[in-house]
């Protein structure tokens, strides 16, 4: 096809939309050089495109509304909440039975006072869409001061940005016989991890990391000084360990 021949409106649109192959594009460009009214039409199409972008591009950078729920997170949380409720229930029955049969079991306090309440608090609050935390990360200073005061020991919210998790906020919780604090973190995929801490019968001890897992909720826990710490998430053990290693030095008393 020779240049200047049969350039139709549809060709101009296809040119503006970059839908022509190289040969046809050259023909249209040649035509445009000699037909200013066609060039004006192209520019009108481009201005319309730009106007649509001006109108709707702001949506791209809006924060994700809380009404949109990622279906994979919703489903997992429901399944795991059920699993953990069963787990906690069974643990309570067994713990009660053991305590009555053989008296005090040394590993029991950490399991009963730290791990199970932490895992339970994790599934309860990570499932929350509207109120995941009591005080948000934007008031971090206030959150830290308040929780330190209530737990009667200085506590810190570790920085997990290196692993892609940002602080959502935290809350004060009743635990078995004391108060506990929970910090929640979230990554861009909406995956959440929680760090739970409280005092206990283990005051001023230190332990290595221990791991406990039930139906998808993994917990790394340790004691360091006055506080016991439990990190919970629906993550592979290796992934969770990386986070625990990142947290441990930051919360050291």
């Amino acid at each position: 096809m020779k240049s200047g021949q049969t350039i139709a409106d549809l060709d101009l649109h296809a040119y503006a939309d970059q839908q022509l192959d190289r040969a046809r594009r050259a023909e249209v460009e040649d035509y445009l050089a000699h037909h200013p009214e066609a060039m004006a039409q192209i520019q009108e199409i481009r201005r319309l495109d730009q106007a649509l972008h001006s109108l709707f591009d702001p949506v791209l950078t809006e924060p994700m509304p809380t009404t949109i729920q990622l279906p994979w997170i919703k489903k997992r949380v429901l399944l795991r909440a059920a699993a953990v409720v069963a787990w906690v229930g069974l643990g309570t029955v067994l713990g009660w039975g053991l305590n009555n049969l053989v008296g005090f079991v040394s590993s029991a306090p950490m399991e009963a006072q730290l791990v199970r309440p932490a895992a339970f608090a994790h599934v309860i609050y990570t499932a929350e869409i509207v109120h995941p935390v009591e005080i948000g990360a934007e008031e971090e200073q206030h959150l830290i001061e308040w929780l330190s005061k209530r737990l009667r020991t200085p506590i810190r919210a570790p920085d997990l940005a290196a692993s892609g998790y940002n602080l959502v906020g935290g809350r004060l919780l009743p635990s078995t016989d004391r108060m506990a604090a929970q910090f929640m973190y979230e990554n861009t995929l909406g995956q959440r991890v929680t760090l739970y801490m409280r005092r206990g019968a283990w005051d001023n001890h230190a332990t290595a990391f221990r791991y406990s897992q039930s139906r998808g909720v993994g917990v790394f826990y340790w004691i360091d000084g006055p506080l016991g710490y439990a990190l919970s998430a629906e993550l592979e053990k290796a992934e969770l360990l990386k986070l625990a290693v990142l947290i441990h030095p930051q919360v050291k008393p």
Binding site: H13, Q43, E44, L48, A51, L52, S54, V59
Partner: protein, 168 residues
Amino acid sequence: MEQLEQLITEQIPRLRRYARALIRGDHSRADDLVQDCLERAWTRWHLWRRGSDMRAWLFTIMHNLYVNDVRRYRNGPSFVSLEHEHHDIPGDGADTDEALVLEELHAALATLPLDQRSILLMVSLEGMGYAQVAKITGVPVGTVMSRLFRARQHLRKILSAPIPGQVG
């Protein structure tokens, strides 16, 4: 599976922009459509061919959801008075003429037949090729081109002033 979740998540801002442009009025209706699309995609993830275009797949799902149940996502009449949507207009109001034209364009979009509006938005806003839009909407490429042409003609006629702006 991790990868699939990430691929879907990455497309959410684009899905929201498209839904917002497609459905005039209550923003929550647009997000309802996005939510339904995510749910549908998640229950049918096995239909997605690994390595294929995630955006095209999600837009196909969203297009079908909307076309098959337009009434569900439409909040009352398709026309909403302009006063309700001032917050949609970007900028600080300094350039009032441009803001007014944009506002008028926003209203004019709603007067386009659905099959023209969706094609215009996929090409103009999403920058999709004609062949891809044809596949998503299930019509021949020639039909995509003629509907796109008619959509732009219609907007041109309905706007009281040409759209301002510098383009190369």
